[in-house]
């Protein structure tokens, strides 16, 4: 049984994994979280937002600002998505490896 420290590495029993692998895992998790956040932002687009997004497609800074204006609570969305992903992964791993976690 692994100890619940709140650290995803410990929760998944990955302490003995090479550091590079762990970093890659965290990197991937980071990407998925931001992808999910983007999905939620997309869902909030309405009316002429699609045209505006198209207009700003070549201006990354302006587009990012536009997206944050559509999701003024983005920091909260990020937090929620990290927690969800963390819970999903741990639940999935525990179901699959009940003897090891």
């Amino acid at each position: 049984m692994t100890q619940d420290t709140g650290n995803i590495i410990s929760l998944l029993g990955l302490e003995a994994w090479p550091t590079e692998k762990k970093l890659a895992l965290l990197e991937k998790m980071n990407g998925v979280v931001m992808q999910r956040v983007m999905l939620r932002v997309l869902d909030r687009l309405e009316g002429s937002d699609a045209q505006e997004a198209d207009r700003l497609a070549d201006q990354p800074d302006a587009l990012a600002d536009f997206l944050t204006s559509k999701a003024p609570d983005m920091s909260a969305l990020i937090t929620e998505e990290v927690e969800k992903l963390k819970a999903d992964l741990v639940k999935g791993a525990k179901q699959k490896y009940p003897e090891d976690l």
């Binding site: 420290t5 709140g6 650290n7 995803i8 590495i9 998944l12 029993g13 990955l14 302490e15 003995a16 994994w17 550091t19 762990k22 970093l23 890659a24 895992l25 965290l26 991937k28 998790m29 980071n30 990407g31 998925v32 979280v33 931001m34 992808q35 956040v37 983007m38 999905l39 932002v41 997309l42 869902d43 687009l45 699609a50 997004a53 198209d54 700003l56 497609a57 070549d58 990354p60 800074d61 587009l63 990012a64 997206l67 944050t68 999701a71 003024p72 609570d73 983005m74 920091s75 909260a76 990020i78 937090t79 929620e80 990290v82 963390k86 999903d88 992964l89 791993a93 490896y97 090891d100």
Partner: protein, 753 residues
């Protein structure tokens, strides 16, 4: 030449030293062997099979070892002289465990990677579907898909978090999205020592980054990658630069974080910290205005832990506020977890602080402690550890005391064990000394109060005007403590051979002599060196003040605990400090103490809680503490109670989903989870029982849950859980929702009454 590959013999180690157990089938290993003469033999590893074998073998060896463990096992080992055999098995178990953990990490790690890939693919498909529905062009969609990298660099303020308090503002400006994600993934800044400290150190590097190499692109992943091939942690340490030393500390901390390890027992880390202390120990780096005041790192961590417990508890109780709190909690963990953050205010670093955190108030002063920790004094930390002195007790101070206590009354002088009572202009008689002597279980409050009660008239007590002597003494004690700048109680150790004293002199000064506290040893060492500063630290470490509450029911106390916890969390997160919050600290401590002793079920009956007796010596009170720290005891106790509450809700939710139960049974489970007057949150619903009715509120809509519609209610909860489905299948989701809402019969708030 055909190579004859024989499968390993069960019970013998393979090439990796991993043995298969007796009778273990090797079919599971699926080792493929190429018998072709022309090609070299290739043996493909099968990590899953290795895990299965290692797991079984570990279990088997652990069972062997168990024969030699426990009382009977130990006796058997001694009687049969099997000590060597036991040692051999222990070594074997350690080796197999290592192999097992490696196999486990490899298998689960790769599997999780796969799960993430699958999630990414699914999320991408969903995003594409939504984009299509929203009429986005392929170009715009691609740009939005790539925008997350840019957003990852944005700080939380830019991402819409605009808190009020100074600490929170600092967090909002100093933490970017990427760091927030990683912070939550590896512990959320919640760990007592390791995680929070490591993240704090990492943020400290950010401050250094502002001083030298630029700021903005740092995160702990890249730091670890950069450090490949770094020199050994201790090699050439003494001749290394300070920044080099900091990097070494930081590197270990970051590695501990990524590896889920606690550094408190790590010898190398302690040596590095000792070197840091050796270089800067005792150096006070004062800000332009303030004098250096030490605040021990452990105190910071303890306060943070306390805060986190409260935040966690509140998350369970108030889900609508949970996100904001999590943000703040994580951020504070990131920024303030480590004393090393104070390095940012060393000579010349003030500009860097401003560059990093804009107008946020910088740390005013820092002191490197002899053990290598860095203690800081800052407005931010004042808010982490609000003091009773913030409260305007002076307005209520008795005139006699007002006259007697000088406006600039200093901290109490806490002196080393060898010190003697300081000379005062006031005569100290034997009786006064006896009252001032530290007894078992005493804290400063109790001793001061005892002295006031012994000679109340000397302090202006008027029975007709002031009423109850005990109550008056308690109030007066707080006033005197505030005047002496002592915040909260300080638990004192009894030294029977050389009893210490806490003396209230007639001029209102509280003076301590030979008073030993329950503080951490490294701090104790500073007591003799920096009495003034040490006293300040003692204040912060102190337990909360006991405040009498006469004739209260446990329900009253529970209600006030909830309220005070809210206020205190707000205080910490928003950087506000007010009289109410300071009083809360004393009130809820007292309340919890009372609750602890209250009979079971007292909350349902209007039980009168006896007023606590200040001044009464509770034998062994300090020793009875389960954690050795009264503050922590209270936190643990409260947290356990709240977790219990959470379990009830969790069970109720499971019961709601249990189709085998009758509607009446499911309804009863909901009622049990939510007794009259005590609301719970299920998804975005607030469920409460009012006047026997089960009401579930969402916004202004209210559902009256009954045994008849409890099934529909359960479906409604399920739909709320599937919120994301609305993004991909809005029509279907809405149809289901409409159906359930119809079944439930949503009514207006007025109608619900």
């Amino acid at each position: 030449m055909k190579k004859d590959m024989q499968p390993p013999v069960p019970g013998t180690p393979d090439a990796d030293g991993l043995a298969t157990g007796p009778g273990e089938s090797l079919e599971t290993q699926k080792t493929s062997v190429d018998f072709d003469d022309e090609t070299p033999t290739v043996v493909e590893r099968n990590p899953t099979a290795e895990l299965v074998v290692a797991r079984k073998l570990l279990a088997s060896k652990q069972a062997d070892l168990r024969k030699y463990q426990g009382l009977v096992g130990e006796l058997r080992t001694k009687l049969t002289g099997a000590g060597e055999k036991k040692s051999a098995i222990e070594e074997e178990v350690a080796l197999i465990r290592e192999k097992y953990e490696q196999a486990r990490a490899e298998v689960i790690g790769e599997d999780v990677m796969g799960m993430l890939d699958e999630t990414a693919t699914m999320t991408g498909a969903m995003a594409e579907a939504v984009a299509e529905k929203k009429g986005l062009t392929a170009r715009a969609f691609e740009a939005i898909r790539n925008a997350h990298k840019k957003l990852g660099e944005y700080n939380l303020e830019k991402l819409g978090w605009h808190p009020e308090g100074r600490i929170a503002k600092m967090v909002a400006r100093g933490v970017n999205a990427r760091l927030l994600v990683n912070g939550i993934l590896v512990g959320g800044g919640t760990a007592f020592g390791g995680t929070a400290a490591a993240l704090g150190a990492i943020t400290a590097r950010r401050i250094f980054g502002g001083m030298s190499a630029g700021y903005g692109s740092f995160d702990f992943m890249s730091m670890l990658s950069e450090r490949k091939g770094k020199k050994a942690a201790l090699e050439g340490l003494e001749s290394d630069t300070t920044e080099g030393l900091v990097h070494r500390l930081e590197d270990l901390e970051a590695r501990a974080l990524v590896n889920g390890k606690d550094l408190s027992q790590d010898e190398t880390y302690q040596k590095l910290k000792a070197e840091f202390g050796k270089r800067f120990g005792g150096q006070a780096i004062a800000g332009p205005e303030g004098e250096a005041v030490q605040l021990e790192r452990e105190v910071m961590l303890q306060l943070m832990s306390q805060k986190q417990e409260r935040v966690d508890a509140l998350q369970e109780m108030h889900t609508d506020r949970a996100t904001a709190m999590k943000l703040a909690a994580t951020g504070i963990g990131l920024l303030a977890g480590s004393g090393l953050i104070a390095k940012g205010v060393m000579k010349g670093a003030k500009g860097a602080w401003h560059a990093t955190f804009g107008s946020a108030q910088p740390v005013e002063a820092a002191v490197v402690l002899p053990n290598g920790d860095v203690a800081v004094d800052s407005p931010e930390l004042d808010h982490l550890a609000p003091r009773v002195e913030d409260v305007d007790y002076a307005a209520k101070l008795h005139p006699a005391v007002e006259d007697a206590v000088p406006a600039d009354a200093a901290h109490p002088s806490v002196e080393g064990a060898a010190a003697h009572l300081p000379e005062t202009p006031n005569a100290v008689d034997a009786e006064a000394l006896k009252l001032a002597e530290i007894h078992k279980g005493d804290g400063v409050i109790r001793i001061v109060s005892r002295q006031l009660e012994a000679k109340p008239e000397a302090w202006g007590y008027d029975a007709a005007k002031d009423g109850d002597l005990h109550k008056w003494a308690s109030k007066m004690t707080h006033e005197l403590m505030a005047k002496n700048k002592i915040s909260g109680d300080i638990r004192l150790k009894l030294d029977a051979a050389h009893p210490g004293h806490v003396l209230v002199s007639p001029d209102g000064k509280i003076e301590m002599s030979d008073a030993k506290t329950y503080m951490a040893e490294p701090h104790a060492a500073t007591l003799a060196e920096e009495p003034h500063a040490a006293a300040a630290s003692a204040e912060s470490h102190a337990a909360v003040t006991a405040e009498p509450h006469a004739a209260e029911t446990t329900s009253d106390i529970e209600a006030r605990l909830d309220q005070s916890m809210d206020r205190r969390t707000d205080e910490i997160l928003n950087g506000t400090s007010n009289e109410e919050a300071a009083l809360d600290r004393s009130m809820d401590a007292r309340a919890e103490e009372i609750l602890k002793g209250a009979p079971q079920g007292a909350a349902e009956h209007a039980t009168t809680v006896p007023r606590p007796t200040v001044g009464h010596v509770e034998s062994g009170a300090a020793e009875a503490s389960p954690t050795g720290d009264p503050n922590l005891d209270k936190i643990v106790q409260h947290s356990e109670a709240l977790h219990g509450e959470h379990d009830v809700v969790d069970r109720a939710l499971k019961t709601l989903d249990n189709a085998k139960l009758t509607s009446a049974e499911r309804f009863e489970a909901l009622k049990a989870a939510c007794p009259e007057g005590k609301g719970i949150n299920i998804e975005s619903l607030h469920v409460s029982q009012e006047g026997g009715k089960m009401l579930a509120k969402i916004g202004r809509d209210v559902v009256v849950v009954t045994p008849k519609n409890v099934g529909a209610f359960s479906k409604f909860v399920d739909l709320l859980k599937e919120g994301q489905r609305a993004a991909v299948d809005p029509e279907g989701y809405k149809a289901d929702l409409d159906q359930v809402v119809k079944e439930l019969g949503l009514v207006s708030p007025d109608a619900a009454k």
